[in-house]
Symmetry: C2
Subunit: 355 residues, 2 copies
């Protein structure tokens, strides 16, 4: 396992994406996003994606130098065409457009189409609460050709036909820290399954089905054609279906017309961004005081067995970011070797980049 | 157990609420809401509430003849003061205001304060999808004086400090039936616990804590000071906190100033209504076709063991409504006796009312 400081990872990512053809601004933007995902503990969306994104560029699925464009706009709505570049570039445009509109109108919605992976969804709702606004971000859009183990079965069903459809909501407070919740609507993430598999530990009940559609707690069954289940049975299923329609069907990302040569041939993900002004119904300061009172009440709850304290949604991410900003970000050896090999291919001398 | 047709229940409810002082329009509106909840299978929000609401009127917590008022309005926002009458009357004003505004602006938000119980949340998102719009309704606002067993513990905590904070989303389709999801963010509803208790069956793991904050599957522990847990651990918890702030803190329902004599002394629930035009980003007909394609893909999934088919969220309610519209709505004997006693008090001859 290699450990480097965020700033060192940043130089590696920047050099690699530039060498692979990214514009300077796109390379800087996506590198910043991936490093912040690693800092906040979301390793699956972190520096491990340097290699994945570069390979997507090489495969012609991602245009690293395109510039997203607002293709439709009213006073409280906007639609952004990401032009098949890094989703993070388009997603930032969407949330910022919704935020600036919501300041004027109280609420606004933005949609993103033709986007490669937008990364950690919580990044955009953090932008909202940092600016004193409420942000809601939804991502969905299953595609059957999306590869093995990529989908979630409906409640009572045995085939994956929905995405892991994440939702994130960020809300500002006043003296108390802001709220940022960010979760996939599947019962469990792929990372947790591989951890159980590595440790030979059983999964909690209700997380996966085996290839025959039977409930199982054996992590190994997942890699033999198993299927993810929605969180909370019919509840997570209902939310996942709603997100599927609120993103893919609403934005039009099921139609990737005109760009089949790029990601359109394999990617149909849509994402939807809603911003709300906390002062929409009452003075924003009164909202913030009420938020503080609620969060204080939650923080004061005595912890359950196995917990040291009750955490506000978003606190785990902030604590991890503070810790890893000092301790650095690690990458497993196998991923580091892939990254080194890719860097060599692009004539990047990693040793001198990180020095 | 008594079984009566919806139309008979309707006459009982109407007569009782009128006799208890409700205006004709309020009595008709709330009766219709409660009967439809029973028809759709949500018995806890159904005709069983005839008695509960009448007692709230008698206790001075509910003004049965007040008329809610829009107290703030812009092009895509509105705030409604329910004046402590039946929440169903104010909630309908909110969703319809948001719907009519969203048709013009693409998205709109409405808030409801000073409301008694708004009933089944899905009723309002069904109004949205029936009009070809997308509706999102959130309810929250914990109050510590709310009575035993009324709250949910935060993830990792041992005291109830959040409401069961339901969310409902309704979305239209085209040839396929619409989607309507409606769930509480607690792992389990009170009704399910009392059923397990009656049958001596264990609860699933992760639903409740006992009075000492220890996990238990014994339903009896819930009635001895036990506490509800959020659905899906940190996921349901995150959603519940977000809903708490998006309703109570956002609308201002934590402040019940000016009406302490009525519900203000004990109720701090807020509810938030968002409507979205499915044609906001693309032609509405294209949205509807895409929704159909997604729902068809879900319906075609082979059922898991113990299921006959995969259901779209909202299908269980529609099927139950069709069945109970023929078979009638039942009420346990003990509830029926309370209702008869209350009717007698108001000089209502139930036999002749239902004849």
């Amino acid at each position: 396992m290699i450990v480097l400081q965020a700033e060192q990872w940043s130089r590696i990512g920047g050099a690699l994406f530039l060498a692979a053809g990214a514009s300077e601004s796109n390379a800087a933007r996506v590198t910043k996003a991936l490093i912040d995902s690693s800092l906040t503990g979301h390793d699956s969306h972190g520096v491990i994606r340097f290699v994945q994104y570069t390979r997507a560029i090489e495969a012609g699925q991602l245009d690293p130098s395109a510039q997203p464009e607002v293709i439709k706009e009213t006073t409280c709505t906007s639609l952004v065409d990401c032009k098949w570049t890094f989703g993070q570039v388009g997603a930032e445009i969407c949330i910022k457009k919704a935020m600036s509109q919501a300041k004027e109108t109280g609420i606004a919605i933005s949609g993103l189409i033709h986007a490669h992976h937008i990364g950690r969804v919580g990044e955009y709702t953090e932008m909202a609460h940092e600016a004193g606004l409420i942000g809601i971000v939804l991502v969905g859009g299953f595609r059957s050709a999306g590869g093995a183990n990529s989908g979630v079965a409906p409640f009572g069903g045995t085939r994956p036909v929905i995405g892991t459809n994440p939702i994130s909501i960020g809300l500002p407070a006043n003296a108390l820290p802001p709220v940022m919740m960010d979760f996939a609507t599947s019962a469990v993430a792929g990372g947790k399954i591989s951890l159980c598999r590595a440790n030979g530990a059983p999964l909690p009940e209700g997380c996966i089905l085996d290839k025959d559609g039977k409930p199982t707690t054996n992590a190994e069954d997942f890699y033999n054609g198993g299927i993810l289940l929605p969180v909370g049975g019919h509840k997570g299923y209902g939310l996942a279906v709603a997100i599927e329609l609120l993103t893919q069907a609403l934005t039009g990302s099921d139609q990737a017309t005109g760009n089949e040569a790029l990601g359109g041939s394999y990617r149909r993900t849509g994402s939807t961004y809603i911003a709300i002004d906390p002062g929409v119904f009452r003075p924003a300061a009164d909202y913030a005081s009420a938020a503080d009172a609620t969060l204080r009440r939650i923080k004061d709850v005595p912890p359950a067995i196995g917990f040291e304290e009750v955490l506000i949604p978003g606190e785990p991410e902030r604590r991890c970011r503070a810790r890893r900003s000092v301790e650095g970000i690690s990458l497993p050896d196998s991923s580091w070797e892939s990254l080194q090999a890719l860097a060599t291919k692009y004539l990047i001398d990693i040793a001198s980049v990180v020095a």
